[in-house]
Amino acid sequence: MKIMNCPLNGPRNISEFVWGGEVKPMPDPAATSDQDWAEWLFLENNEAGIVREWWCHVPTSFWFIAERNTVTDEILKTYPAGDVFKSRVDFAAKAEKQS
């Protein structure tokens, strides 16, 4: 069984983790085209090489990011999501007033 190094809990059996998909920035839902939205939603790059992925340590529900080589299945490094997502995300208000 593979070992993954959780940034919070240290090295653990991979069975303690779930995969959360590739890290890929969401296009601005208010501005993007239907086509681009659908591509972001449904199409995975499935790259042969180093990818950034979301992983969650299940016993602690801790989400973090792992860089993994999909060719060798080698986990190169893991770090907290805060290393990438450093500041608050807001969405532009629509014209109408919120209820």
């Binding site: 809990n9 653990r12 303690e16 299940v58 016993p59 602690t60």
Partner: protein, 244 residues
């Protein structure tokens, strides 16, 4: 603490029936019934606790705080909390402040079970009157979300090796170390908190905190894993005797 029936109290351990079936004699702590001993000789139960004993401390005071400002606020309340996550920090009154994450503390009372610290903290925590409010974390209902067991004795690491994939042997899992992991296929928190006696003899001891709704399941799994080493349930009296 006279013998009492668990159902005579409003607060009840989820496994009081299993304990009673093993012959537990109960006494009141923290508004609930805790198994004090299992009827045999005091020395024999102490010997079991030194070999491999399992105790249910679920009605003893435990709680916690979580969220931004938690550690700063608890520090201001007089708690001593170190910088590392997954380490439990022992408090002056014998309580443990287990740092599960940078902004999450799980509090375990000492086995005296007076609950003084938790009562003080819960009383001190109030919503500030108006926004913007200071970051002071939020109280967590840990008393009721988590069953609290304690496993004691020389064979505890061997027993855990049958149900837990983390290396909990004593050379590899220091006093105060925390493992948040999977035990018998359910999530659980394990904290090493040895019981030193006055004569210097140290009995290995590990707290086990897990989903209260699966308490019966986990207790049964632990007893099954312990049987090979003649592990048995022990009461609060034996745990206290370990430190006598």
């Amino acid at each position: 603490m006279n013998a009492i029936a668990p159902a005579s109290h409003l607060r009840r351990s989820f496994i009081y029936r299993l304990l009673a079936a093993s012959g537990a004699e109960f006494g009141e702590v923290n508004g609930g019934a805790v198994a004090l001993h299992y009827g045999g000789s005091r020395e024999a139960e102490l010997a079991t606790a030194r070999r491999l004993g399992l105790a249910d401390l679920s009605v003893l005071p435990h709680g916690g705080f979580k969220g931004k400002g938690t550690v700063e606020w608890l520090t201001a309340q007089g708690l001593a909390i170190g910088p590392d996550s997954n380490v439990a920090y022992k408090q002056a009154g014998g309580e443990w402040a287990a740092r599960l994450a940078p902004t999450e503390i799980f509090l375990l009372d000492s086995l005296a079970g007076t609950g003084a610290l938790l009562q003080r903290l819960n009383a001190a925590w109030q919503w500030a009157a108006a926004a913007p409010r200071p970051a002071q974390g939020y109280p967590m209902p840990r008393q009721d979300s988590h069953a609290w067991f304690m496993a004691t004795g020389a064979f505890v690491p061997e027993m855990f090796a049958k149900i837990c994939g983390v290396d909990l042997r004593r050379e590899h899992f220091a006093e105060g170390a925390i493992a948040q992991t999977s035990v018998a296929k359910m999530s659980a928190i394990i904290i090493r908190a040895d019981r030193p006696a006055k004569d210097g003899r140290v009995t290995p001891a590990y707290h086990v905190l897990a989903d209260i709704a699966s308490a019966e399941y986990l207790w049964t799994c632990l007893m099954d894993a312990a049987a090979e080493f003649d592990g048995k349930p022990v009461g609060l009296r034996a745990l206290r005797d370990l430190e006598a």
